[in-house]
């Protein structure tokens, strides 16, 4: 199959094959050139990179100070009150969990479906999952009244004979998120091993020592590849139910209470779809930025952004459908508290947020219909950033907007955020960007082995006087 796989100067594809130019897997590159193209931007770090790291590190440090301030003085330094017991922390928690969904979506689902366009972006997606989950996992700690007692939620034998309450959705959260974090980290690491070995063989000094340890002595024998593929196959299947369950459970934090507008059966699928929408959009945003910052135009091409943006659009349509189904029923039901909540949103104090949410979630769907928007990085960046503005606002309305109203009007309240909350939220955004930036300089951002593997499928064959790309089935 691989005979004459790499076309030489002599058999340049004729002009009629121009439509294949943008396809990465047909690119005329030797393996050594691909290795270099991935390793070069990783090793060379400019002044801009360190300025970025310093800036993000500063924001993280300020956020940590704010967290310390919060722990020292008490939750009162946030804007929470009765009845708005959960605010920006839980909102951002849901947001990060949502972001974390696209990594597995792209990687596991597309791996199972054998979609070839996933190859250069899986690593970026999996890393996004792991780091977004790390950021999300901070919030259940940050929002605790007594964070120093958080370990009481962990089931371990102890001499007080105390056990956590597995009826509580927060315990489901703990189990689901830790399972997902372990699973997605292993999944990220497994797929990394061949590339770490590649980096080990092409770098020196401290990097070589680091990669030698991390590559676990990978040699690339047939038995090793076989085991790797089997492990990835198992993980791809096993992680899909986990990723569906995680956001369902997050939605049940709200849906199992009898708070009006939270108590809804559609919340679980609605949250999952919303998570995929915002996660895929965030992935597109990140890829556009990383592509430019690390000069990866070679690997992240129009075809990838096109396919990814189509997925974003489809997820957006699903989100709209689920949102409408939920909203219609609640609006039609016309129960007093629900009516009050909907009025607050549609024509009351929350109206600016509500219309921002609708505009920022719906306009990108329309924009992404155009192929020009899907394949132009700048336009795609705008559209996908807009999606996440919309999805954050959506979570804000669900958490804070809903809690401000309840069954007894005397218990209604208003929430105003404080600098402590905003600093901590900014801290996790900066922390995510910082981890991601450092990660992209330490491990190969583009999964080299997956690209090389994908290229095995494609051959340029001469049929008569034409060079035609042909694809073969590989395992």
């Amino acid at each position: 199959m691989s005979e004459g796989r790499r076309p030489t100067e002599a058999d340049q594809p004729p002009a009629s094959a121009g439509e294949y130019d943008e396809r990465l897997l047909l690119a005329e590159r030797t393996d050594a050139e691909i290795n270099q193209a991935v390793l070069q931007p990783m090793i060379q770090t400019g002044r801009g990179f360190w300025a970025l790291v310093a800036g993000l590190g500063g924001l993280v440090a300020w956020g940590l100070f704010a967290w310390g301030y919060l722990v020292y003085w008490g939750i009162g330094v946030t804007g929470k009150n009765r009845p708005v017991y959960w605010t920006l922390f839980i909102t951002t928690f849901v947001f990060w969990i949502g972001i974390s969904h696209a990594g597995t979506m792209i990687s596991a689902v597309l791996r199972l479906l054998k979609a070839d366009w996933r190859r250069p972006i899986t690593r970026g997606a999996e890393a996004m999952t792991a780091f977004a989950l790390l950021m999300a996992a901070l919030y259940p700690l940050i929002h605790l009244g007594r964070v120093w007692k958080f370990y009481w939620m962990i089931p371990y034998p102890n001499n007080r004979f105390m056990w956590p309450n597995f009826q509580s959705p927060l315990m489901w959260d703990l189990v689901a998120i830790s399972t997902y974090l372990i699973g997605s980290s292993l999944y990220l690491y497994l797929a990394l091993i061949p590339d770490l070995a590649m980096a080990r063989d092409h770098t020196g000094s401290w990097r070589n020592r680091l990669y030698r340890g991390l590559a676990l002595g990978w040699r690339g024998t047939e038995a090793e590849w076989h085991k790797l593929h089997r492990a990835l196959g198992i993980f791809s299947v096993a992680i899909i139910p986990i990723f569906l369950s995680v956001h369902s459970i997050v939605s049940w934090d709200f849906a199992v209470t009898i708070q009006p507008r939270w108590h809804s059966t559609i919340f679980a699928p609605y949250f999952v779809v919303g998570a995929i929408y915002s996660g895929l959009a965030a992935l597109a945003t990140i890829l556009v930025i990383v592509r430019r910052a690390m000069r990866l135009q070679e690997f992240l091409r129009a075809e990838h952004f096109d396919a990814l943006a189509k997925l974003v659009m489809i997820a957006g349509l699903f989100w709209t459908y689920f949102w409408f189904s939920g909203f219609l029923v609640e609006w039609y039901g016309n129960e007093p508290v629900t009516r009050e909540l909907i009025q607050e949103e549609v024509s009351g104090r929350l109206a600016p947020l509500f219309y921002l949410q609708m505009a920022a979630n719906l306009i990108p769907i329309g924009l992404l219909v155009s192929r020009k928007v899907r394949t132009t990085p700048r336009l795609l960046l705008t559209a996908t950033l807009l999606v996440n503005v919309g999805m954050y606002t959506e979570r804000l309305l669900i958490v804070v907007g809903t809690l401000q109203r309840n069954d007894l009007p005397f218990n209604w309240g208003t929430y105003r955020p404080t600098w402590v909350e905003v600093s901590i939220v900014v801290m996790t955004f900066a922390g995510f960007a910082l981890l991601y930036t450092l990660f992209s300089r330490i491990v190969p951002y583009v999964p080299v082995w997956e690209i090389k593997e994908g290229r095995l499928r494609y051959t340029l064959r001469r049929i008569g006087r034409l060079l035609v790309p042909t694809a073969a089935e590989i395992e």
Partner: protein, 241 residues
Amino acid sequence: MAQDANHLAESGPRWGLIVDLDRCTGCQACVVACHAENNVPVAGEKQAAYGRWLHWIIIQRFWEGEYPNVKARFMPLMCQQCGEAPCEPVCPVYATYHNPEGLNAQIYNRCIGTRFCGNACPYKVRTFNWFRPEFSEPLTEQLNPDVTVRSRGIMEKCTFCIQRIRRAQLDARAQGREPADGEIQPACVQTCPPGALIFGDLNDPDSRASQLARSHRAFRLLEELGTDPAAIYLKGGETNV
């Protein structure tokens, strides 16, 4: 109408509080008594205005009508001690649980402050210690030794003065008898000048609380939610202020 069948079947007491809305004048004596009895900190004007008061019982005031024909309606609201409490299953560490006498007990030392119970409670009667509780000077001299002074970062709420229930039970047992009806009085009941609050065992059909609970005026707050509260309100007529 007072109790569900499963509670009638139990042999032990089920404590209930009757609130006669016709008698309540909105004087707030119960609120003050509760603060003194249960070491409830005073949040201060600014914090209270932001919805951070810590009262375990509060007089909710609803205005009816337009000026000049305005009526004020008062409704004392405390923990309803639900039989099917929405706050209980959501706590990840069992800091709130159902005790055998039907009370929703709150274990301050166990609470880690997720505030999930506060969100789950439809009556919003659970309060949170936003800061380290402070008692200004003369108040520090009158803290009740029977009640824990809570720390910051935990939830608290009305307990039906469980320390008074226990004391009365112990006194009665020392004398070889059961506590008599009316012997147990939470601080709010004891202090209520018009006698709008009546406390008693709803499982004892002869107790005064039980008799009032069978009144045609009796109703329970947000009963449609199925929380099975142990606080029973007696409908008020026209109260003009």
